[in-house]
Amino acid sequence: MGHHNPDSPSHLKHYFHDVNQQYETSKFAMWAFILTEVLTFAGLFVAYIVYRSWYPDMFVDAHKLLDVNKGLMNTIVLITSSLTMALAIWAIQKNNKKLSVVMLVATFIFALVFLGIKYLEYSHKFEVGQLPGEFYSYMGPDAVHLNNPHIFFSIYFIMTGLHGLHVAIGMGLIAWLIYSTQKGNLTPEYYTPMEMIGIFWHLVDLIWIYLFPLFYLIG
């Protein structure tokens, strides 16, 4: 069926004219999706703004309960992973499959480290009861005077949790990229999935770049 040009590449879907149209369409849709993602987080940023303006002192004091070093470490880890992701794309463009796979694996490991550090932070908060809403039970000397600190932790957990979910989804996608690149499905002529997932990964990084100062560096 259809009128396949005998020399049209196998990755070209029959409903596109040419490879370029297919690539441009994917890229365009990816950016539209990024817009959707930004709007998703925007709702939560609004909640953050509203409650920070309601409880400015509480936010400043509650943020001291977060571990700045771990947050900073995660920031560095994630920015580096953005670099390795970009290098993976650069490598595949240069037809260096091996380097591309190495860079993707590095990205995957950085993502894992990020979630590992996040896990340490979360489990500490679970232990001491710095939890959202009704589950908040922390009564340490640095928090007794706080007015509704559980609101801070509700927003903290929802925003970093949703971001963490994105990291986890990104890891799944990167794992698939490692597999496809290794198998030779992605080439200098066709590496659209890697570029799209790269855009997604940079967004995940970018959101963290905002989350880090807004939660860890207030005041």
Binding site: M1, F28, L44, W54, P132, I151
Partner: protein, 540 residues
Amino acid sequence: MSNKTKQNYLNHPKGIMSWLLTLDHKRIGLMYLFSGILFFFLGGLLALVMRFELAAPGNDIISNEVYNNVYTLHGAIMIFLFIIPAIPGALGNILLPLMVGAKDVAFPRLNLASFYIYSFGALFAMYTIINGGVDTGWTFYTPYSTQSSSNVVPMTLGIFIIGFSSILTGLNFIATIHKMRIPGLTWYKLPLFVWALYGTSLVQITATPVLAITMVLLMLERFLGIGIFDPALGGDPVLYQHFFWFYSHPAVYIMILPAFGIISEIIPVHSRKKIWGYKFIAYSTLSIAFIGFLVWGHHMFTSGQSVFSQIVFSFITYFVGIPTGVKIFSWILTMYKGQVSFTPPMFYALSFLFLFTIGGLTGIFLGAVALDIHLHDTYFVVAHFHYVMQGGTIVAFLGGLHHWWPKSFGVMYNQTIANIAALGVFIGFNGTFFPQFLLGLRGMPRRYATYDEQFVELHSYSTFWSGILGISIFIAVMNLFWSFIKKNKVDPGSNPWGGMTLEWTHTSSPPHPHNFEEEPVLQHGPYDYDKVIVDKTYKK
């Protein structure tokens, strides 16, 4: 066009799996159409239950508790399961690639996924019904929605899931419109229905994620007591209303913009005259989509808003009237000195003009703070949004179905019955909802299962005509389906209304599985009736 035309998207390929796993936008559109109509009837049935309960004061048929469930489910099903997903999903899917000359949408697999995500979300809504309903109203306002023991979570989860389907359809359509047009089909040569879908899709991808996150926050509030919306925990229930209407006001335009697009196609074709003010209509679509994001506060005039916010939101709300008025006048000017034929699609389009104008103007009333405080939560509001949503969107949807029915299925319905049903819809609709304006003005509050004696006359009048409305819609839809059974086939090459857009001029009815036998070459604009000789089969 020889015996090749016998192969079309309906009969090729065959088998149930070829439908369930189809990547063909037309088949996916049909699946949206049938599920949409199913939910439309379900929602309509719930509406009739309400109307019959309200035929007389007191609890005659159902208890107050059941009534609360019925109006919630009516609203939620009509909005989230029918109008929002099914109209772009059905007519948009079937027509968009044809109108831009593409073989399919940009991402066919994503398109099928959208349909199944929608179906999956709908399952949660159905579970809600079986499990005893939900009684918060379709708006799920906190704090009641965090306390109600009814099925708030299954329903909001269903809406959350359906939201993803909406977003993916929007992404797909935007990418299709930007990148899949045939050479020469520039923005200003696009049919206006495509512009309407573009505006709709923009709102879908930017507003829906906010609804998704709102539903998540609501569920977390119920599961974990996060306190964001709970004043006892230092939160603010009004913030929920802000979040909800930040989505749900733009969602009104997700619902009405496709209708505008349908009307922009029907009126010029059936008036045999080039659309008046093409660019005005195209840009008014975009400005409605944009202004729609700035007016959500007008739903909250009585929620403890500052006077300053009230004035600002009220002022911006009036702005919506400008692009909308531009459209109405453009459609009227299109008909002026045209050859208007009273076909069923045109009947619906004319009904739309009349009903939507009333709906739109009463929206301006409600945008005025002083009047809104008086009319808030009364039947005036109920009548207003039904004039917009049913009198506007659903009437246009029915018109669109009648307009593109011969194109989509290659069969023609009985036009006399269709016209009678259209008239029944028009009269039945006005009979049902016009009295509700009066009820509202006299102080009848919405969402009540019973009422004072003074409202009996208007309520019973409304109930009587709602029966006529229900029967008329049923006849209209059955008349369409009957054309299958009767196999009243139109000639595959025919163009019964003489449309000039690509789906009429360059493909058969029903279309080829790959839309066009060969890539269409653009020879004329979408409304250039003067430049091209109308299809010979036009006048039977």
